[in-house]
């Protein structure tokens, strides 16, 4: 196992995650794709530390703090989506099958007015 193969693998994971967030509409698929991208970044950090530097600590600290921060945000979003405590819980079927595709291109983003429909 050498550094080059590991980096190719992390690049593959990163591209896979990028494809996932661009393609899937489902909320869980999007979140899982984000985890895959995050894991690719962690693999990069640890592989560089293992092969290039003596007794590295900085990368571990960065990864731990970054994980705390990113999962804090993701947890907040998931909690907001599924929580019954706020007033916008609404119809579960409507929300479960809502479109969460992150990168959409619609005509109204460039030209004309937006026709607002609930949960679109």
């Amino acid at each position: 196992m050498n550094l080059q193969i590991i980096n190719y693998f992390s690049f593959f994971l990163f591209v896979l995650g990028l494809f996932g967030i661009s393609y899937y509409k489902n909320f869980l698929s999007t979140v899982i794709s984000m985890q895959i991208m995050f894991v690719a970044g962690i693999i990069n950090f640890f592989s560089f530390a293992e092969f290039l530097y003596q007794e590295p600590v900085w990368d571990k600290i960065f990864v731990i703090f970054s994980a705390i921060v990113i999962y804090l945000l993701l947890f907040s979003i998931v909690f907001y989506k599924y929580s019954k405590q706020n007033q916008v819980y609404g119809n579960i079927n409507n929300i479960e099958f809502a479109d969460y595709k992150l990168f959409k291109i619609e005509k109204t983003d460039w030209w004309g007015d937006d026709k607002i429909v609930n949960n679109q």
Partner: protein
């Protein structure tokens, strides 16, 4: 008196005093967080405003007294002092918007606490030097902004999906930035951007990939064209104070992160000219043209201003391309980016304040809401006209200063004072940039004239009133029980005071700026508006 000045002279001023003041007030506010009493809410508003003003004063005083500060985790210089001052001024205005439109809510004090928390975190972001500190402060800031925006919109079902998509995109951008840092780490165990600049491995492919990924992450974070879908939908559907939070709290944080890479970007732009210049020109062109065309074709006031905001961001991106060609210097790029942001604040805070108030009463943000405002309410109409004229760059106003330096570089090139690298490619890029600047300026002028004409049109006729009722029923069906009120264009006295302050600042800074441009020499002001 000398004892006091001696005492002040012995105090070591740290740039964290402003953050300490804000967090101290947050600590006090926690004791009142669950209260719904009106008197406590008013007390908290004044306490929060006082803390922000004191923090702003301490920030400026610290820089003037103690100068530059650098440590392993933080650095505080002129640009950082400017960034913190801008954000604290922005938070003060956001406090006003949140107080006006959310005072009746039971969790109002919690909203204030979250707002103060974001203010403290954005100060941390501006001060942070180390990669860990930068990323952590940026990430927590994004998480708290999500808390604030979702709490503000907790009674609007329509926006839930778009808010989730908005902040999932922000989370994706964080992960991409994280991946970018991993590649920079792989170069030579570098901990901050200054070390990267001084490193022998600055030309390494890993650094280039890292900077590229961080730039892409920030690109997604800012919802720059063609990824503006979620941003437009969130601005359109949210409650009244959310758009200004997105415009002047969320987006500037992305810019501050981008500014931290400025020296590295300048190095790579110089090294890889013209390819990077082409990339920046392409991004700027899409933003400027897309923003202006989108604004001109919509009849929703929120969408108009959302599009125009993106167009001005395009101008800031264009300044990097102009640097690549050698038209402007490095400090002018930073100056243009900062002053474009300040121009947006000077325009949007007063204008959107009026628009939001009209929207609250009429239950729709239709363009026709503004019809007859200048006729019915001459004072506000004139003020708004001056502010909008400044936005499109009329001479004698604040906006003229930013537009001037975009055109001044071309004039100096034609006079032979600036030399760009020879070659057909550079010449084509030069004309392309000039075309983008001219077309963008003309389009913004067209958009502003369209709004000003609407202000001066005669009063609303019965057909327009019926149309607004119909639009209200289509756009916000759950609010059908609220009656659409006729526009009478009377506002609380506060709005007159608020708009007047901005009009005066715009005119005064515009006049001083022109005097500086013509080297008229204003000796009583210890700083310059037209340069850093």
């Amino acid at each position: 008196m000398s004892i006091i000045s001696d005492f002040i002279g012995t105090i070591k001023l740290w740039p964290f005093y402003s953050i300490a003041v804000i967090f101290f007030v947050i600590l006090i506010s926690l004791f009142f967080a669950l209260s719904k009493r009106k008197e406590l809410k008013i007390f908290m508003i004044f306490l929060s405003a006082a803390s922000i003003i004191v923090a702003l004063f301490l920030n400026i005083f610290t820089f003037l007294k103690s100068g530059i500060y650098t440590s392993f985790l933080f650095s505080f210089g002129f640009l950082e002092a400017i960034e913190i001052s801008i954000m604290l001024f922005s938070v003060l205005n956001l406090l006003i918007f949140i107080s006006i439109y959310n005072f009746e809510k039971n969790h109002f004090i919690k909203l204030l606490i979250m707002l103060l928390f974001t203010a403290g975190l954005v100060c941390f972001l501006a001060l942070s030097n180390n990669f860990i500190m930068t990323f952590v402060s940026f990430g927590i800031f994004t998480a708290v902004i999500f808390q604030l925006v979702s709490s503000l919109n907790n009674d609007i079902l329509m926006i839930k999906n778009d808010l989730i998509r908005f902040f999932l995109t922000a989370a994706v951008s964080l992960i991409i930035i994280f991946a970018g840092f991993s590649f920079i780490y792989g170069t030579a165990n570098l901990n901050d951007f200054k070390q990267v600049m001084e490193s022998d491995n600055i030309s390494s492919a890993l650094v280039a990939i890292g900077i590229f990924l961080i730039s892409i992450g920030i690109y997604f974070y800012l919802f720059i064209f063609p990824f503006q879908n979620t941003y437009l939908k969130t601005i359109k559907k949210s409650e009244h104070s959310t758009p200004v939070i997105v415009w002047f709290l969320y987006i500037p944080a992305g810019f501050f992160l981008f500014f931290k890479m400025n020296n590295l970007l300048f190095y790579f732009i110089t090294k890889n000219q013209p390819y990077l210049s082409i990339a920046f020109i392409a991004a700027a062109m899409v933003c400027i043209l897309g923003g202006n065309v989108g604004a001109i074709k919509t009849t929703s006031l929120r969408r108009i201003f959302a599009f125009l905001f993106m167009a001005i961001i395009g101008f800031s991106i264009l300044s990097y391309a102009m640097f690549g060609l050698g038209l402007i210097a490095k400090n002018r790029v930073a100056w243009l980016s900062v002053f474009n942001l300040i121009l947006l604040m000077m325009t949007y805070f007063p204008v959107y304040g009026i628009i939001a108030d009209i929207e609250k009463r009429s239950n729709t943000d239709a363009f026709n809401n503004l019809k007859g405002l200048s006729i019915k309410n001459k004072y506000l109409g004139i003020n708004l006209t001056i502010i909008l004229i400044s936005f499109c760059g009329m001479i004698g106003t604040f906006g003229y200063l930013t537009k001037f330096y975009y055109f001044e570089s071309f004039i100096r090139y034609l006079k032979g004072e600036i030399n760009i690298s020879s070659g057909l490619a550079n010449l084509i890029l030069l004309f392309l940039i000039l075309a983008v600047v001219i077309i963008g300026t003309v389009f913004i002028l067209a958009n502003v004239i369209r709004i000003i004409i609407q202000l001066f049109k005669s009063r609303e006729n019965p057909e327009d009133y019926e149309m607004r009722i119909h639009e209200s029923e289509v756009m916000q069906p759950e609010l059908q029980s609220k009656k659409v009120q006729k526009n009478n264009f009377t506002f609380a006295r506060f709005y007159y005071f608020y708009v007047t302050i901005y009009t005066v600042i715009i005119i005064i800074v515009g006049i001083f700026g022109i005097l500086e441009i013509f080297n008229a020499g204003i000796s009583f002001i210890p700083f310059k508006f037209t340069t850093f």
